[in-house]
């Protein structure tokens, strides 16, 4: 039975039984309350033969001719759209252009007071007039968004903002066909094939309540050429052998909408931002802080809370101590007192059995893991370490200081390390490098495309001790615009020094579990559509799409060549003993002056 539908499917034990039922029940009148209802029975080829479209959704095929399609495509001028085309390509985003009014992706709404200079192109008028004649719409739309999807691109599931646009939304598909998925809050999923030159009309429930999206894929599973109705995709792969893979090509969609000027009063308040539903606009990106309080707040949200949330998973990806760090640790005389400031999961606390090691970290969750491993560690901030001055023979701070969001705080962190050192003591500091490619060698971080979730791996060490002289002047790298921090796309070069790096959370695995089993390679999964054995029996999208993985953003300030040395140079009583680049990190070894100068 399909919820809320006035029909049901019945399977009989034999053809004979089915025929008898048909004879006796078809046309029968039933009394239901005060109403008389007629029961109609029909035979169907297979129960799943027709999955009804979401209510209010209409698909009209061959809405425009091939000539009209060519004209419309030619009418779109991409030259000025999406100013940063190289960024678009690098990020593999679909191309977008707006006419009439600009749809803003930062708040998922429209600036109704700022119409764009260009309205809907003239070339669209014949198609729109046809829509009016065919009664799909009463009023001409005044906003057009053009989306161009290459194979492998898509758009996440969403409901078009209620308060921005009136009810009817029409989308004309030009170029290659694709599959659009509609999802109801109750879990129903309806994939709809959108052939080229077809018009999709969304009204009512399909516009206001169901989400629609296009899974980024290069192939779709579609019915094998049923020319009559390619649009309705039978969901059950097991009972239908008439399915095939359809390779995606470039598809351009023209979505026509009418700007709404009054609050929305639809019948779906749960999804309505005019009626109190939470707005779907993405949270506004953080800005680079200007004072300690702002900095502390930024770090609380984009460093500390994140590590506490991802601790288990994070720890499972941080199992191999880096060779150069181990080398430093092994060089310490037996009985040395070592402080690991920002020790994380205690990776380095057990490397040398000769030293007296203690670790501290801001994350209780990570310190908990240290304790479980039998290491001595405590929770504290790197800016204020509760150890007495000049009590440590050595300190290490590996991949820590790049989490501080102002230069002052980074300097304070170095000062604190130096304070802990005895005269003659040494500190090793590692920070993520802006330059991921060094001496024409791409770091492993950049090279590894196929890993579980690329961004969940930090640059891995490879010994490459370069003789390297400090740079006198730091290049003027493009500063963060508006002070807003952008999210970095992993496995690509950095283009700003201050950024947010995503972490895709998976169920944390403990050490000892198969490292190769750590999650499924996401890239591979995208290509296949996976059979979902749930009651809905749909060819659901790969799991990574239909059950989204939580993403966390960590703040980083990546260091330019020479920057770490300059920073350390500002601390009195300490010398840079050596400095080097190590697989995507800038590293220094500091030595505290043997005689305390005052």
């Amino acid at each position: 039975m399909h919820p809320h539908k006035p029909y049901a499917f019945v399977t009989y034990r034999s053809e004979e039984c089915a025929r008898k039922a048909h004879v006796h029940l078809n046309g029968e009148k039933l009394q239901c309350g005060g109403n008389s209802v007629t029961l109609y029975l029909s035979f169907v080829d297979s129960e799943e033969a027709s999955v009804p479209l979401p209510e209010g959704l209409v698909l009209v095929e061959d809405f425009v001719s091939p000539e009209e399609e060519a004209q419309l495509l030619a009418a779109i001028d991409w030259s000025s759209a999406n100013d940063d085309i190289t960024a678009q390509k690098a990020l593999k985003h679909r191309r977008v252009k707006h006419y009439g009014f600009e749809f803003r992706y930062d708040n998922n709404n429209v600036d109704k007071d700022k119409p764009l200079p260009a309205g809907i192109p003239q070339e669209c008028l014949p198609a729109l007039e046809l829509c009016v004649r065919n009664k799909h719409i009463n009023i001409m739309p005044d906003q057009l968004t053009v989306n161009q999807y290459e194979s492998g691109q898509g758009i996440p599931p969403h409901v078009d903002t209620h308060s921005a646009f009136e009810d009817t939304i029409m989308s004309l598909s030009l170029g290659a066909q694709t599959v659009m998925e509609f999802r109801h809050p109750d879990g129903r999923l309806v994939p709809v094939v959108l052939p080229g030159r077809s018009l999709l009309v969304m009204k009512g429930e399909s516009r206001y309540l169901w989400t629609h999206g296009i899974t980024p894929r290069k192939f779709d599973t579609v019915p094998a050429c049923d020319p009559q109705s390619p649009a309705l995709t039978p969901p059950d792969v097991r009972t239908h052998s008439n399915l095939t893979l359809s390779k995606r090509g470039t598809r351009t969609s023209l979505t026509f909408r009418k700007i709404r000027h009054e609050p929305c009063r639809c019948a779906f308040p749960s999804a309505c931002d005019s009626q109190g539903a939470p707005s779907t606009s993405p949270p506004s990106p953080p800005s680079l802080p200007r004072c300690h309080d702002d900095a502390a707040q930024l770090e609380e949200e984009y460093v500390h809370r994140v590590y506490d949330a991802i601790a288990s998973h994070f720890s499972s990806t941080r199992h191999s101590p880096w060779p150069q760090v181990c080398h430093f640790l092994s060089s310490l005389p037996p009985g040395s007192v070592l402080a690991d400031v920002g020790c994380g999961n205690g990776k380095y606390l057990g490397v040398s059995t000769e030293v007296i090691a203690v670790g501290c970290d801001r994350s209780s969750a990570l310190i908990q893991i240290c304790a479980e491993r039998g290491f001595q560690a405590f929770v504290s901030d790197a800016l204020s370490v509760p150890l007495r001055s000049a009590t440590c023979d050595a300190c290490i701070s590996i991949a820590v200081i790049h989490h501080f969001s102002t230069q002052e705080r980074r300097l304070a962190a170095v000062r604190e390390l130096v304070r802990l050192l005895k005269p003659g003591g040494r500190a090793l500091i590692y920070v993520w490098a802006f330059e991921q490619e060094y001496n024409k060698q791409r770091s492993k971080y950049l090279k590894e495309q196929n890993k579980e979730h690329p961004e969940n791996h930090s640059p891995i060490n490879k010994a490459s001790e370069d003789s390297h002289r400090p740079v006198d002047n730091i290049q003027d790298v493009s500063k963060v615009t508006d002070g807003k921090l952008s999210v970095h796309t992993n496995r690509t070069s950095f283009n700003t020094q201050d950024l947010l790096v995503p972490w895709h959370l998976k169920e944390g695995k403990r050490q000892g579990e198969e490292e190769s089993g750590e999650g499924v390679k996401k890239e591979k999964r995208k290509e296949k559509s996976k059979n979902d054995d749930s009651a809905h029996n749909t060819t659901s999208a790969p799991k990574s799409e239909s059950s989204p993985v939580p993403v966390f953003h960590r703040y980083y300030h990546v260091f330019q060549q020479g920057e770490l040395e300059l920073l350390c140079g500002q601390v009195a009583g300490v010398k840079v003993q050596s400095s080097y680049h190590d697989q995507g990190n800038w590293c220094v070894i500091l030595e505290k002056d043997s005689i305390e100068m005052n």
Binding site: P334, G335, F378, V379, S380, D381, V385
Partner: protein, 123 residues
Amino acid sequence: MKLLTHNMLTSHVKGVTKGYPLLIKATEVKMNEVEFNPQFVSRMIPKLEWSALVQAADELGQRQDLPGELVPDYEKNEDFLKKVHRLLLEVEVIEGCLQCPESGREFPISRGIPNMLLSEDEA
């Protein structure tokens, strides 16, 4: 938290000058068995603040016959080294707190882990 760690920890509350050693208030103490390495213990001793260790041992009722001062030639004194080994590495405070001797501020110890985080105004 082992007493070796306690020996290193200090109160870092702003303005405090006599924050060491932290007073131990333990509600749960565990004894571990740790392999005795006389060489390692010998090397640890010069790094310690001896009086702080004695004080900690007293607070936990674990002092036994530990001398108030370091004995000379302890490197060869296996008996002595064993006592130090036991105190530093085998006694573990699981629950309780560390108290700043000057300000009285308490830092909780939970599941063996001291939480030394200060609030905004204490730092």
